[in-house]
Structures are given as C-alpha cells and as structure tokens.
Symmetry: C2
Subunit: 479 residues, 2 copies
Amino acid sequence: MAKNITPRAENYNQWYLDVISAGQLADHAPVKGCMVIRPTGFAIWEQMQSRLDRMFKETGHVNAYFPVLIPESFLKREAEHVEGFAPELAVVTHAGGKLLEEPLVVRPTSETVIGHMYAQWIQSYRDLPVLINQWCNVMRWELRTRLFLRTSEFLWQEGHTAHETAEEAEEETLRMLEIYRRFHEELLAMPVLMGRKTDTEKFPGALRTYCVEAMMQDRKALQAGTSHNLGQNFARAFDIQFLDRGNERRHVHTTSWGSSTRMIGGLLMTHSDDDGLVLPPRIAPVQVVIVPLYKNDAERAAVMPFAERVRAELGGVLDPLHIRLDTRDDLRAAERFFYWVQQGVPLRIEVGPRDVGQGAVMLVRRDTREKQSAPLAGLGQTTLALLERIQTDLFERARAFRQANTHRIDDYGEFRELMEGPGGFAEAHWNGSAQVEARIKAETKATIRVIPLDEDPEPGRCMVTGEPSPRRVVFAVAY
Amino acid sequence: MAKNITPRAENYNQWYLDVISAGQLADHAPVKGCMVIRPTGFAIWEQMQSRLDRMFKETGHVNAYFPVLIPESFLKREAEHVEGFAPELAVVTHAGGKLLEEPLVVRPTSETVIGHMYAQWIQSYRDLPVLINQWCNVMRWELRTRLFLRTSEFLWQEGHTAHETAEEAEEETLRMLEIYRRFHEELLAMPVLMGRKTDTEKFPGALRTYCVEAMMQDRKALQAGTSHNLGQNFARAFDIQFLDRGNERRHVHTTSWGSSTRMIGGLLMTHSDDDGLVLPPRIAPVQVVIVPLYKNDAERAAVMPFAERVRAELGGVLDPLHIRLDTRDDLRAAERFFYWVQQGVPLRIEVGPRDVGQGAVMLVRRDTREKQSAPLAGLGQTTLALLERIQTDLFERARAFRQANTHRIDDYGEFRELMEGPGGFAEAHWNGSAQVEARIKAETKATIRVIPLDEDPEPGRCMVTGEPSPRRVVFAVAY
C-alpha cells in the first residue's frame, strides 16, 4: 500500500511525481496534457477555494459565471492579448453536427467575454465599481506539462473589476495582491515576495502585472498569484463606457487577478519531504487522524470506545469533517501510519491499550515526527495549540530556507555561478532594458521574478552593463 | 430602475424572461444558446451547491475533477450512449495551432472518461465502493434554448459511483433520489414526485433512470434531478473489473446522478409572482433586507443607528452575509422596496422615525406582502420564526397547487381535453408499450413523467388500448 518515493536529493522531479502518486492527489487524463484531480487533491482545492472565496466576499466581491466558449474574433480585439494567447488555444469548429460559422475558443482567460458583457451592464458611474469573480476551468494548450504546475486544463478563479478612475483600479489591483500574500503566508504557510513584473513578463494586454512569488525546495521560483491593472486597454477594445459624475462618457478602468490549482503544486514543493506530502493544518482537509491500535478482540474492546471519546473531544474544537478515525482492521499499524503520512495529515493520534489505562494518547507530528503523550482531559485545546504550532513552524522553516538561499549579487560572473550551481533568489541591479533581461535569460535561464515594491530602494549599477539602476530586482530560475 | 414584468396570465413565457431580467439573474451570452449567470443568479446556485454538497458528504461522497475534453472515440464504446449524445456534441478539432489526431468533445456528461479512470483505480473489492461527485460545466448543443431551463452550456453536479453488487448499486441510486427529493422539498420548498422513467425517457446507457419531477405554475412538468442505475453497461464498455471476495474477476456495478442550474429555473417558476422573483428563505442568498426610511438629516441621524442595532440583533441568529442594509440615499423608498421585491428577498424590515420612537420595526413578507410590527427586543427569534413560516407556506401553497391540478383520468378523450386545455398531471393507466407512449406524445405532447414507486399500486386498463395495466403512471406536458 505504501508507495516508494524517490528522495529529493536523488531526483527532485521524480520525487514530485512520486509524492503526488503516493498521496493519490492527481493522475494523467487520457487527453494529453490534461489531469484528473483525485479526491485527496481536490479536497485541498476545496479548502483553498472556501478560504479565498471568503476573503473575496469580505472585500465586497461577488461570484458569477461566464461561458466557456468565446468567439475567436473577441480575442483579436486586443492586439497584445491575442498575440499572447493564440498559440495555446483549443478551438471548437463543429457543434450540433454542423460546421460553425465562426470558430469558438475554449476560454484561456475571460477578459474578452467579460468585457463584452460589462459593456452592456455598465451605463453610469452608479453602476461602478463592478467587483466580480469567477471559479472555473480554463484551457491553455501546453506541450510540456507537469501535474498541477502546468497542464492544458486547470481550475482557477479569475476576478474582473471595473472602476471609475485609474487610482481606484490601481488600489484594487494592489488590494487583491495583498489578499494573495495573506492567503499564501497565513493559510498555506508559504512565504512570498510581492512585486511588479517587467514588461516582458506581464500579462498580455495589461498595463502592469503584480504577483506573489515563492521559493520551492529546489530553489526555483514559482509564480503563485497575479493581479493585473488592465488600464483602459480592454475598456477600449470592448467599448465599456460610462457617464461620469460630470455627465461625460468615459472608458472604465479594469483589473483582473487570478490564482489556480498550480498552488497545490507549490504547496507540495514547499513543505513535503522524502516520506511524501506535508500539509499545513489550516488548509489540510484532514487535520487529525486517530489511529486505534490493538492486537486482539479484548484490546479492541478497550481501545475503540476510548478512540471514540478522543474523536468526540476533538469534535468540540474542530469541524468533524476534518477529523478521521481509521478503523481499518485489515491493515497493520505501520501500513496505516504510512498511509496517513503520505496523505500529509498534520497530526496523528495513536490510541493503544496502554494509553487507555493512562487516560492519555500519543500525538505524532507529520512535519517533525516528534511524539508526545497528552491526557484526554483538555485534548481539544492541546490539539488546537499543537496544530497552530505546526502551522507557524512550517512557515518559519520555509522562510529560513528562502533567506538562506537569497543572495545580494553585484557581479554577473557570480550571478551565473549561482544560477548554474545551487540556484536561489538573486537580488541584483539591472538597467531596465528588455534586451539585457533577454540576454540574462538566454545565458542563465533566470528571469526577473519581481521588481520589489519597497518604498526606499537602494540605487546601484546594472550587473551586466554597469548602467545606473534605481533598485535591485529579484532574479531566479522559475517553474 | 424597477422593470416592468409581463403578468403570467398575459404571457407566461415572457413573464419568465422578465422575472430573470428584473432580478438580474442571467443574460444571453454572445455565443448562441449559452448564458451568463449574473451575481444574483449565481448566489442562488452557490446556496444550492453548498447545501447539496453537504448532503453528499454526509452520505460518504467525495469530490474530484475530471477533464472537460473527452476523446470522441470514448463515447462510441457504449452504443446507446453515443446515439443519445452525438447530435448535441461540441467538438474541438484544433489545439495549439494544429489539427488534432483525434477530435475531442466538450463533455456532455462524464460517464465515459470517469469509467476510463475507474478501470485504472479499481483492482479489488477493497477499493469499493467508489463514491465520487464532480461540480462542473457541461455542454449539450441546443437549438431552442431558454435561460436556465435549456442552454448549450450549463453547470451541474454529476455523481459517479462503483459497487460490488447490483443490490448496492440500486440502493445508491435510490439513496441519491431521496436526497434530491429532500433537497427540493425541504430547501427549495418544491414538492416533487419520485419515480422511474420509461425506457423511452431513460438516460442513454442506463439500466434504469429515476427522477424527481415538479409542477410549474403553468401546470407543465419539470424534471429536476435524475439518478441512474447503469448496471454493468459502462463497466463492460470501459473494462472496470475487480477481484471479488471469492477471488474472481467481475465487472463493477455503476450509478450516476445529476442536478443542474436548471433547478434555478424550476425554483423561479414554482414560487415567483407578477412582481418578480420569490425565494424560499432557506435557499435565499439574502434572507432579510433592512431598509431605513427618512426624509431629512435629523430623521437620518435617528434612524441609521437604530437600523444598525436591527442588523446586530439579526446577526446573532443569521449569517451576516445573508443580511443586507440598504443605505442607498439616491433612491426613493418605493424604488428601493421594488428593487428588493424583484430580487426575491423573503423578508423586508422597514425602519422609520416613528418605529424608532416605539422601539419597533415593520416586517414585510415578500410572498404575501403581509405587514406586521415587531419590537426590537427578541427580533432575532421573531425573524427566524417568520422565515420558517414563509418556508412552510411556500411549500404548502405549491403542494396545494399541484394537488388541485392533478387528475385521475381513465378516458383518453378526457385526457386529450386536459392536455390541450388547462394542462396538469394526469394519473392514468398505460399498457407499457413504447408505441402507445409515442402516440400519446404525438397527439397531446404529454409524456410519462414518472412511474410512481408506491408499493401497493392500483391495477386497471390502458386508457388508449384497454389492455391491462399494473399501475397508474403520471403524464404531463414537460419542459
């Protein structure tokens, strides 16, 4: 039952796939490049969805649903947008047994069709702001795929807002970036850098793209959520106009922001180890598993009622849906332990005959494997505190790792050595030109992950050209 | 702001569209036959999803996600299945700039691709039962569409389970039918008939199809949820085999069951009136709206803090996300009232200067328009009780309507008069032949909606042929 997992040090890519397979998170679909998200993996997505959705609603956003098929001509209305997405489109040419008059694309993102609808819904400043989010599937045809990180179909949320002024649109863009930061750091225990993308890396059609960026255990970067200020680009392309407070017709200012099932891959690569998945308690679908241990019917008769009391005690502080009692009789204890280890459950509670006698249980942390005995009395509070401790420890460990692998570099030779060698984040100066950015990418595979948002940047000189640079930017090889 | 709504008596179809438009529930998408579900409509779907999802999880089901694109050849493996769905398929022929080797269909339903995965996941009886549900979008190309009721794309849930024995599969099929009944009756306040479909009406590829069926206000029937016992048909087509307890290889027995955004249309047509949408409290995204009333700043200064106290009092018994306080200053009271009437909010609470003086508020029911004064003290409990009362009244009213429009008919002439005239449900005898069923449909448009499940049926003679009939079945003209 327990699957062998390739150690990270031996083959990081294989380790990633083995953790997914052992945890039964996802599988390859019969259509090349697509994935099946299995119940264990999907339960993580459901947790992510419900937490993020609550954060969106608390900031005044509402959900809606727009169609999956978009007329091909819509994409062509915004020049950068179609250039960016055309190579990745899946196209419906036939439907209902007939050739369609106009081909339809399966949405790669929905700015265009939503822009088309907003043009009809928005008449006056009284209709603004429009703050809509959508949870859905999108399709971007990929040749080289990787479960969760890059698949032809994935699930995501895409927020699309419209505002009266440029200032309001910029505020919204940064508000959602901050929500992504909080979500990653507070719930996924993933430390992230916030910043702006260069023009090369920005969303096709955006004025400015911001993102949160995390470091994986192989020191590569993962872009985890993006927030775009679209300016009036899509408003012009789809003619979204409103009568302003001075009774003049103007184009609205729009934003869009998204995060996807890719985050599951990032979560996995941040915390998991050579035994498999490790999940932070606040996002884990199963937070605690109770494993009763007995060798015969007499022991069973003593242990099972006690295990039920443990479950009842925990049910007072945790949602019962997040607690499991493993009653499988046909598996040895070691097999059951390993099953839950590979499912990433943060805390295992073992209940054996001796524990029953002492009115206590054994708590085993998934992350550190530390064991401690705890009395049944007050077990709810003990468990809550321990789960919070695990959450904090995971975050701190990931932050320390990122810190240890982030380097201030002023010399391009040193930079190349880092990127060709151990890898990591390099804080370096750059002259701001796309040409130099492209040269660095060609020579080292590293790209500019973020232009940080600090208000008091340190000026310097480009590590490649020696030209002036207003601030350090963060380079890394990325997924 | 308030939209005119065509009265039902004048034009029922236009009334339906007007209620959707006035409530801002949905809109036509640029792609013919597809719809946009606007925030008010989508909030109803979110309520339905969260309530149904909880019911599925409480009965041991888990969610997963399977790909939206399915190889065309998969559908052909089950002869009835492809015959049923082929005319409605949307087909992707190009992707990533190239012609695909094999066309892919946008899923019309997922039995085939899920069967393909189950064949890999299921090895032994220990892997059974598999109880998976999926929430997603599906596509069935339709020529004659109607918002919510029949659209080319719609949202739904589809459950797919696999079992060791035929008995377990039948139990599961009926368990989920009962969940649909409870969901409709207890949450949507929609009385439904449960029963089996005839072979003509069953799901393509199923052994037996069961459904819940409701009566709309125009006396037509609406199929609201279906549950299929698929027998071993898909297990054979996709070779889903397992080693049974006797160590022999056998095909599993599968079921599937689904309900969709169509239920929003059914909900609308069950309860709404000539003023617009009426929502049952248990499913309403906004359960209560508080409308403060004032004519000048002095009145405003007295009324607003009191309205906030009302909100705080209600927040103790209802989820704050389900309460609205309407603070719009730029609209007259009548406009605000009408806005919330058209949004279907079950209860309006008016707070004016006189109410403040008396420490009371005015409660106005959406369904009956009845008004009653209630003191602020204990308002939470008063409101809860009134919402429950509205829920019960809506259900009872719908049940009385169905009862008044259900007729026991033994004469085919009388039957035709009913179907050509007022319409309604006819409980009639039928000889069991598909030919007679087809003739009745051709002559009256009525179809057999359900073969009821009563254990003690009344035998009789077919109203068309006079041949023996074991039980009455329910006929109606359907959506």
